[in-house]
Amino acid sequence: MSAYLTTIAILVCEAALIGLALNLQWGLAGLVNFGVVGFVAVGAYATALLSPLVGWLPAMLIAAALSALLSGGLALLSIRLEENYLAIVTIGFGEVVRLVLLNEDWLTKGALGIADISRPFSELGVASGNDIAFLLFSIALVGLSFLLLEGLARAPFGRAIRAIRDDPTVSSALGKPVLALRVRAFAIGGAIMGLAGALHAFYLTYIDPSQFTPIVTAYAFMAVIAGGRGSNIGLLLGAGSIMALLEGTRFLKDFISIIDGTQLSALRLALIGVGIILLLIFRPQGLVSEPKRFERDVFPRANERTP
């Protein structure tokens, strides 16, 4: 049971990382990314391929950098365009990543996938202790990313990208470098998705292309919508409740014998879709709405000067 809870907790951490990244890209910067899974896959494969060569930490960092580079590049290509186009370009990116993973056998071992990825802290001995250490590591990673992103959201950078999301024309008239800020937001998001991929590879110790389907993207959107676009705290709640819900329904298989495994997973995915639609219609602000920030939050002494 405790092993099961650890598994859920690590999966929640992965979902939270992906969600935090999407929250920066879509929630704060207003840029739709339907290719989330592509960046996660790049991170996972880069980590799996590099960690035997350079060690786990440098491998993770390179994976994050590679994801950031790719998403920054993609953003440069397409971000000046209307959101409809960015959406399809990112979907296309996700599909191309999957094609490359499937077909470049010399690098990715194709459909067979890469096995025996060694996890950090595996030298700590017994299997269960190893899991706990890895869980703590995952939580630390989520914590760090959260602090980084929350800091960014409060910093001038965060204000600028929110302004661009709400009205790019006004922001550029005020002298904000719209394109550069958007590319940066997209690249930072990409880096964190890469880290999530690294976590995925380390935890499962086995990756293959079938793990990286557009469903990952759908979960991320669900988490962001449920948590509240633009709110990082809401996102953690959203990601947590969704993964708990999804993983919880896996139990149902043991109790319900009328439907088989495929049907259960189909039902779960259909519910995700229904959830996205219902939340958009009835609770667009999510669990925790985006914090409204006033002048006094930014300049604490502004009120004293104007009594």
Binding site: L81, L99, A218, T262
Partner: protein
């Protein structure tokens, strides 16, 4: 070899023309990119398959049933989802359509499983004409699509409905002033779009196996075709579809067939970089 590929590409392009038109019509009249095109095709394919395989109906009847089923589904989806989110901007509608896509795809998976299915049709010997093999499915696809295109062209250009659709597409507020009910036009547009997607799904099911991901695999070529023609332009969508279809098939001459799907993606990237308005020019692509 090249002639054969060109011919296959032409038929693939014709097949793509229907969903590309569906995408472009929704974009033109309702101003958002409908990411549920692929899943609606899948639904059409399964509807036709049930009629054909379980109820032993001829393929033509099955195709009509598929068109009706998807048309009704699209109209209901519009009322339940898109109409409620109409004022919330293109991005929200886009994400909602992704949710709709997830729901439809997984209802199909729930009902029919992941296994590939096929229509119950007799396999006939292909005709040879000037060294090109032509099979009966290809003839049927071409005929159905061309009839659809002609009918749609007449509807859009000559009927009051077509005029009203074009009016709403141009300027919904002005159309409302002239007594054109946006809601009614939206519902009718969705029914036309659903009908096209139902037929397209049936034809796609003739071409390859029917499985829950069938429509998703067409998604990128469909968008490539519609963007190539300029989103919102029906004639452009048809031309775009032919170009993408031929490019996909002919690409087998120079790149491994595994990467066929990447052709459309590359086409989208190149277009957005160099000719963002599409071949026939659409409105405001750049921000």
């Amino acid at each position: 070899m090249a002639a054969q590929l060109f011919f296959n590409g032409l038929v693939t392009g014709l097949l793509l023309a229907l969903p590309a038109l569906a995408l472009t019509l929704v974009f033109g009249v309702l101003k958002f990119a409908n990411f549920a095109v692929g899943s609606m095709m899948t639904l059409g394919a399964y509807a036709a398959w049930v009629a054909n395989y379980h109820f032993k109906m001829p393929l033509v009847t099955s195709a009509v049933i598929a068109a009706v089923v998807v048309a009704l589904t699209a109209a209901i989806t519009n009322t339940l989802v898109f109409e409620r989110l109409r004022d919330r901007g293109a991005i929200v509608l886009l994400v909602a359509s992704m949710g709709v896509s997830l729901v439809i795809e997984n209802i199909c998976r729930f009902l029919f499983g992941n296994n590939a299915q096929g229509f119950d049709v007799l396999v006939s010997r292909p005709i040879r004409w000037m060294g090109v093999r032509i099979n009966s499915e290809q003839i049927m696809t071409a005929a159905v699509v061309i009839v659809c295109l002609v009918v749609l062209d007449v509807v859009l250009r000559l009927t009051p409905l077509g005029r009203a659709m074009r009016a709403v597409a141009d300027n919904a507020a002005l159309a409302a002033v002239r007594g054109v009910e946006r809601r009614v036009i939206a519902t009718l547009t969705w029914m036309i779009v659903g009908g096209l997607l139902g037929l397209a799904g049936t034809l796609a099911g003739l071409d390859r196996a029917i499985d829950p991901l069938m429509g998703w695999n067409y998604q990128i070529p469909i968008f490539a075709a519609a963007i190539l023609g300029g989103l919102g332009s029906p004639l452009g969508a048809v031309i775009g579809a032919l170009v993408i279809g031929i490019a996909e098939e002919m690409s087998a001459l120079i790149i491994p067939t595994n990467y066929r799907q990447a052709v459309s993606f590359t086409a989208i990237l190149l277009l957005l970089l160099f000719r963002a308005n599409g071949l026939l020019g659409a409105k405001a692509v750049r921000k």
